[in-house]
């Protein structure tokens, strides 16, 4: 009788989660999260993206623990072994380094850079946008004019010039991409703020004596966060492509670090003899940014206010 009891309790739990009259704040929040999750999971493509990203994060986390070879160890006798060679599942590169191991370690690097960019950019964009929308007047005009100017700049070229001026390296690549990426978030956050700023609960909080800073940081910013985070997920694909592009030009992580874009570039010279050296890291970039796009699309569908909630 145990399975039946389990089924009953799980049905009860679902009913509790989906209750139209939640008895507590926690129940309401959990219920909403559950409904959103169900909507997200109902789209197989989104789920696909989520699984790929989960696997990626997992590999990145436990990469050093996997029984892989040292990604930097060169064995010149084993250079350019094709995929499927004994001991080298995905073959070796032009210096005889194991490609699988380099790809796994490269995942750490790519993810770290992309996450760093988002961590730098999202708070800046969120603060500028919400401040502009909330305070209005000249604050709004000055901040938005700055944003418009920054938005009109060519992103890739500017990131190239910045990375070149600051010198190549992971940190400078993050900085270069961040400087060109924040304006879109500021715009979005401002639009969201304008939507919420006149709401009754804001007026109510103000009458209770909440200061303007408190209104901004405790009420407005959290409300804008979800759409900004959805946007960031969609942007991750673009950020990863920018990181790879800088790496391809030698302006990102420096060799011998296994950065994917740089790995594609280093395989260029042997492309005709050993296709896998360039092809596999490029495939990795494609799969990861595709996964972010799929997940981002799904998240947008779930969080988009036009879809109702």
């Amino acid at each position: 009788m145990k399975p039946a009891a389990d089924a009953a309790s799980s049905a009860g739990r679902r009913a509790w989660l989906l209750s139209a009259e939640p008895a507590s704040r926690a129940q309401a929040m959990l219920g909403q999260a559950y409904r959103r999750w169900r909507r997200l999971a109902s789209n197989p493509m989104t789920l696909c993206g989520l699984v790929v990203l989960a696997l990626l994060v997992l590999t990145a986390l436990i990469g050093p623990l996997l029984p892989l070879q040292d990604p930097l160890r060169q064995v010149l006798a084993d250079r350019l072994l094709p995929p499927g060679s004994p001991g080298h599942w995905l073959g070796t590169d032009e210096l005889g380094r194991d490609l699988l191991s380099r790809l796994v370690h490269g995942a750490r690097l790519t993810l770290a850079i992309a996450v760093l960019v988002v961590v730098v950019v999202v708070p800046i964009g969120l603060l500028i946008g919400t401040a502009a929308g909330f305070f209005g007047g000249w604050v709004d005009r000055v901040l938005m004019r700055l944003t418009d100017i920054a938005l009109a700049f060519p992103k890739i070229v500017l990131a190239l010039a910045l990375a070149a001026a600051l010198g190549p390296g992971v940190f400078n690549a993050v900085l270069a991409i961040s400087i060109t990426a924040w304006p879109a978030y500021a715009r979005l956050a401002r639009a969201e703020t304008l939507r919420h700023a006149r709401a009754d609960f804001i007026h109510a909080a103000r009458m209770q004596g909440a200061s303007r800073m408190r209104l901004l940081l405790r009420y407005i910013v959290p409300l804008c966060a979800s759409s900004v985070i959805v946007r960031a997920t969609l942007d991750m694909a673009g950020i990863i492509l920018s990181v790879a592009g800088l790496g391809f030009l030698g302006l990102g992580a420096q060799p011998p670090n296994p950065e994917w874009g740089y790995m594609v570039a280093s395989g260029r010279n042997v492309l005709l003899d050993a296709w896998w050296v360039s092809t596999l890291p490029g495939l990795a970039i494609l799969i990861v940014s595709l996964a972010f796009n799929l997940l981002g699309d799904g998240l947008r569908d779930v969080f988009d206010p036009r879809h109702g909630d």
């Binding site: 004019r145 700055l146 418009d148 100017i149 920054a150 009109a152 700049f153 060519p154 992103k155 890739i156 070229v157 500017l158 190239l160 010039a161 910045l162 070149a164 001026a165 600051l166 010198g167 694909a237 673009g238 492509l241 790879a244 592009g245 391809f248 030009l249 030698g250 302006l251 874009g261 594609v264 570039a265 260029r268 492309l271 005709l272 296709w275 360039s278 092809t279 490029g282 970039i285 494609l286 940014s289 595709l290 972010f292 796009n293 799929l294």
Partner: protein
């Protein structure tokens, strides 16, 4: 409203545009100026070499205006740029402006051809996808769009070279033209294809075409992805409107409903999207040009990057940035002129 008032409002709007343009350009100049000052290379030593005497160093430093305070330096820099003086390239020892004028037509040719591909394929694809919503062709269009925003362009270029050049021999390899044909036709427009046609030299035309086809298709793919996605979204929005139902009820043919009614209404926003796609390609050609050894501004810029030739880097950045800004603002203006809702 009286005519005088309308004219006044237009004058005000034009002033607004000019101000926006000026502010945006100043911003761009400030950024390039800042980058130029931030470089860890001493610009005086870059000109003189490492073994210059102290007096020569001081003289050149004063001549370059580097002994002035920063705001003055910025004004001097803006004045130079406005006079078309972008400095001298260390690599080619030509004025950067001449170098850019020499290489830029190649980029323009590539980006223009790619945008044409994008319009000819992407727009019809988007329209058809919207009319057959959630059917096979719609899924194809969405897949094309999804891959287009997930694939690194430099990698797609390499894969294209590997397949179509090395394995199948369908197209010519990297570069703009075979050395044997180089310099066979006079440069008139800067576009090899047009110059060859003007000279009536079809061998050169065929060879140049064989070279440009692959990079243009690779770059064009991103344009197709972007344009089809936007066209599809615009069309879906229009097709769900009530005037479409009215037109259908009136007995307008399906073709008339889709192309005259719905498409007619998205023409203006589509125009701005095409312009955006074009300016994106001007920028996106940087990575493509490297893969295909295309002698355009992207190759020039990255060549300068690798050799710390900062005048050339900043000159190219400024050129691409200025074009980018101009195209964006011009489309914004067009949009306002053509769209009656914004005009009112």
């Amino acid at each position: 409203m009286t005519q005088g008032k309308a004219a006044l409002r237009w004058a005000g709007r034009v002033c607004g545009w000019v101000l926006t343009l000026a502010a945006t350009f100043t911003g761009l100049l400030a950024v390039t100026f800042f980058i130029g000052r931030k470089v860890p290379i001493d610009p005086v030593l870059a000109v003189l070499g490492d073994h210059a005497s102290a007096s020569a160093y001081a003289a050149v430093r004063a001549q370059m205006g580097l002994d002035q305070p920063l705001p003055v330096q910025f004004v001097l820099y803006v004045r130079d740029v406005l006079h078309g003086n972008l400095g001298t390239s260390l690599l080619t020892s030509n004025p950067v402006r001449d170098d850019i004028l020499r290489v830029f037509p190649a980029t323009l040719e590539l980006a223009t051809l790619a945008t044409l591909i994008g319009i000819l394929v992407g727009v019809p694809l988007g329209v058809v996808a919207a009319t057959r919503h959630n059917r096979a062709i719609d899924h194809v269009a969405r897949f094309v769009g999804l891959i287009g925003s997930s694939m690194p362009v430099f990698w797609l270029g390499l894969m294209g070279l590997l397949l179509f050049y090395a394995k199948l021999h369908w197209v010519a390899g990297p570069g703009r033209i075979d050395p044997a044909y180089d310099g066979m036709v006079d440069t008139r427009t800067g576009s090899l294809l047009i110059d060859a046609v003007l000279a009536g030299d079809w061998d050169v035309f065929r060879n140049a075409m064989a070279h440009i086809l692959l990079p243009a298709c690779i770059l064009g793919y991103y344009s197709v992805a972007y344009l089809s996605r936007m066209t599809r979204a615009f069309m879906l929005e229009q097709l769900s409107q009530e005037y479409i139902v009215t037109a259908r009820v009136k007995g307008v043919s399906e073709r008339g409903v889709v192309w005259r009614h719905a498409f007619g209404n998205i023409a203006v926003p589509l125009l701005t999207i095409v312009a955006l796609a074009y300016s994106n390609l001007l920028e996106g050609s940087v990575l493509t040009e490297i893969v295909f050894s295309w002698p355009g501004i992207g190759s020039y810029l990255t060549g300068a990057l690798m050799n710390a030739d900062m005048s050339a880097v900043l000159g190219s950045t400024l050129t691409i940035g200025a074009l980018f800004i101009l195209i964006n603002l011009a489309t914004d203006m067009l949009y306002r002129v053509f769209d009656p809702r914004v005009r009112a």
